[in-house]
Amino acid sequence: MATQARLTDDVIRPDLLLQELLAAATGAGAIVNFCGLVRPEDHEGRKIEALRLDHHPRLTLRSLETIAQDGAERFGLSTCLVVHRFGRIEPGATVVFVGAAALHRRAAFMGADYLMDRLKSEAMFWKKEEGAAGGQWIEPTNEDRADLLRWGN
C-alpha cells in the first residue's frame, strides 16, 4: 500500500480499513487513524439531514493523492492511507478516513494531524449541508485556515 488515496461513493468501513492498514504497515511502530463523521447539526444547531459532497471526476482524487504524498514525505510515514467519500451522506456516517503508520508515535500523530488539516482546506470537494429549511454550501472556516498555517502552508 505505502501511500494511497481512494475516492468512493460507498460506505466507509473504518474497521476494515484499520485491518488493512495493520496488515500493510510491516515494520511500523505506531499507527494513528482518524475518522471524520457527518455531524447531526450545523454550526447554528439546526438539524442536518445529509451532507452532500460534489467532486471533480479527476482533480478530486488528484488532490487527495497530492496531500497523502506530501504527508508521507514530510513525516516519513511508511504507510499512509486516505479514503474519502463523495455523494449524499447521512449524519453519523464516516466521510473521511486517514491512517498514518510510522516508526514512532510522534510522526504518526503529526502525520495524521497534518493530513486532516490539509484535507479540510484543500481537498477538492464542494460540500452542502442539507436540512429541512433547505441547505447551505460550506467553505473552509477561519479556524480551518489557521490550522493550515500551523504547518507553514
Binding site: G36, D54, K120, M124, W126, K127, E139
Partner: protein, 84 residues
C-alpha cells in the same frame, strides 16, 4: 462562430446546471470575456462568475483570465473548494 462547452461545480452547478453550451460570436475569447458572457446568461451568478473566488480550468489545469479559448474547448469553473 460556435459553442463553448462549460462545466460547473458546487454552488455554480446548482444555479447554472452542471454543463452549458455558450454560443460565441467571435472565433475566440479570453476566460475573462467568457466569464462575462456566462454572467449575462446567469445574472444571479454573475458576481461569483466574474469574481476572483471562481477559478477556471482547461484540460484539468487552472488557467488565468487572459487565456484565450475557442469553440470546441471545454472550460470548467470551480467555486472555492469546501475541503474534505
Amino acid at each position: 462562430m460556435g459553442n463553448m462547452t462549460v462545466r460547473f461545480y458546487g454552488r455554480l452547478a446548482e444555479a447554472c446546471g452542471p454543463t452549458a453550451e455558450i454560443p460565441l460570436e467571435a472565433q475566440s475569447c479570453t476566460i475573462a470575456e467568457l466569464r462575462n458572457i456566462i454572467g449575462q446568461r446567469f445574472p444571479d451568478m454573475a458576481t461569483d462568475l466574474t469574481g476572483p473566488s471562481v477559478r477556471a480550468a482547461v484540460a484539468d489545469v487552472m488557467v488565468p483570465d487572459d487565456r484565450s479559448v475557442s469553440p470546441g474547448t471545454e472550460v470548467e469553473f470551480f467555486p472555492i473548494v469546501s475541503g474534505g
